[in-house]
């Protein structure tokens, strides 16, 4: 029987799914990130040439890893005369049994995640490395997504990989006493990637949707690899529940639509169901954390068939719980919105006025909305102006502009 035809999209899919795994295995075997990356890229280039004729092998990941391993051995042998370390690595790699262990040790990608998100690296470098090594995004793609020149991003990656090599940042899962703190960093990086994709700021829309998809993929991976941490599950649930509203959060001309005004028929029920199941699953552990609580708040929103049916009392309780474990002015601001729904805009306004968030555009935007609702239109107009002055995001500005026009006498 002839092999089924293999298109570019099939290979692209294998690449997305298996690139990080292959790099993680090779880094473990070789101990050198650059050589591992080059070898895996070579292996995929070979796949693009061969698979259309031979069909996709039964274990694409195994094929890629074996091919990459041979490429790496060849290269290390070529360079062995110059560097004893390379000679050593080549011997080691060639002597390892190559059958049966092409499958990743389950910890490989997790190890790589902890290396990419090491606290000795700057947050921007953590994000870039994670997308590059685990997500397989090109330097150009990451640069576009973060609106920096490609040369800047390339430099950032080179510098980070140099630090991993020279400072001896280890390739391993941290010990139990360090694990909770280190996992917080990994989750923060994943959420940062998601938020960057979610914020409808300037830049290539498609690339930004890819960032959300990539963050969810990494979130699934983290939740699978560290099943004992309810915050990892909470983060995944949170991202799924927000992602579920993607189709409804913008008008056809790209304008912003708040949850209250969204067409709930456009919400992705499959993602909502998965997110809600995860929320129930992690809340049962009774170790609440910020991601789980945010996920639970979003789960309450997605429970309501229409905006008026939203259970704001339950949302307010969740904000109270959040304030109890991680108090902060931004959490207090979001809690005030829930207070506004339960106790009315006057109570909410009193809370908002007490928060020192003058530099935060959302503080002004929420204040403007509350002032409008209590009928203080002149103050509301000034608050809208302050909010508009504090955001560079065109979509948000347009949204605020409309709010301002509504309180301006015609």
């Amino acid at each position: 029987m002839p092999p089924p035809p293999v298109g570019e999209a099939d290979i692209e899919r294998v690449f997305r799914e298996e690139y990080g795994r292959a790099v993680a295995v090779l880094v473990r075997c070789i101990g050198d990130i650059d050589i591992a990356e080059d070898a895996v890229q070579d292996a995929f280039a070979t796949a693009v040439q061969r698979w259309p004729a031979t069909g996709i092998p039964p274990s694409p990941a195994g094929w890629i890893i074996t091919t990459a391993r041979h490429r790496a051995i060849d290269r290390l042998r070529r360079e062995a005369s110059r560097d004893e370390r390379h000679a050593h690595a080549a011997r080691l790699l060639a002597s390892e049994p190559s059958s049966g262990e092409e499958e990743a040790v389950p910890d490989d990608r997790l190890r790589l995640m902890f290396t990419c998100c090491h606290p000795a690296l700057a947050p921007a470098a953590q994000v870039a490395l994670t997308l590059r090594l685990l997500g397989g995004l090109t330097t150009a793609e990451i640069a576009r997504a973060f609106l920096v020149p490609e040369s800047t991003m390339a430099q950032r990656l080179v510098r980070a990989k140099g630090k991993i090599r020279d400072a001896g940042i280890p390739y391993r899962v941290p010990g139990a006493h360090e694990l909770p703190d280190r996992l917080r960093v990994v989750l923060a990086v994943i959420y940062l990637i998601f938020n960057e994709g979610y914020t409808a700021s300037a830049g290539d829309g498609l690339v930004r949707e890819d960032l959300c998809a990539e963050a969810i993929r990494l979130g699934r991976l983290a939740a699978t690899l560290v099943p004992d941490d309810p915050e990892a599950i909470g983060l995944l649930a949170l991202m799924l529940l927000i992602e579920a509203r993607r189709a409804a959060r913008a008008t056809t001309d790209g304008g912003m639509v708040l949850v209250a005004h969204q067409d709930r028929g456009l919400w992705n029920r499959r993602l909502i169901e998965e997110g809600q199941t995860l929320v129930r699953h992690c809340l049962r552990r009774n170790q609440p954390g910020p991601y789980q609580i945010q996920a639970a708040i979003n789960a309450v929103h997605s429970d309501a068939e229409h905006a008026a049916a939203t259970d704001w009392r339950q949302i307010l309780q969740l904000y109270d719980q959040w304030m109890a474990i991680a108090p902060g002015p931004v959490v207090a601001l979001n809690r005030a919105v829930a207070v506004g729904e339960v106790d009315g805009p006057e109570s909410a306004l009193a809370i908002v006025e007490g928060l020192a968030l003058d530099r935060y555009y959302l503080w002004h935007a929420i204040r403007a909305d509350l002032l409008t609702r209590v009928g203080r239109y002149q103050d509301a107009a000034l608050a809208y102006d302050a909010a508009i002055a504090r955001t560079d995001n065109a979509v948000e500005r347009t949204f605020l502009q409309r709010g301002r026009e509504a309180v301006t006498p015609h």
Binding site: H118, A120, D166, A167, G168, I169, P170, P174, E178
Partner: protein, 115 residues
Amino acid sequence: MKLYLLSVYQPDGPPPPPDVLDPIIRNVRALQDELKAAGVWVFSAGLHEASTATVVRAKDGDLITTDGPYIDGKEHIGGFTVIKAPDLDAALEWARKSAKATTLPIEVRPFMDQH
């Protein structure tokens, strides 16, 4: 094993009063003992304050000597320890202990590999 330099950054000026300094000295000595007992310690030293430093530069065939530290500022290296550690995580663990003992920031830098 890699070598790491752990530098202590210390504010210029007179040392803190004995009721502050004495426990710090005790803690630093205890940490030195711990480093030695763990087989991690290679070398360590405290330095006189930065105002005692002299900088020499070679410029256009001349040697210029100036009084004071190379970098202006209110904080300078006050001492350092060289340790042997398997990786950065191990080195950072010792740096954390050192930061607690000295109550000062510790900069960790890897040595180049010796060939």
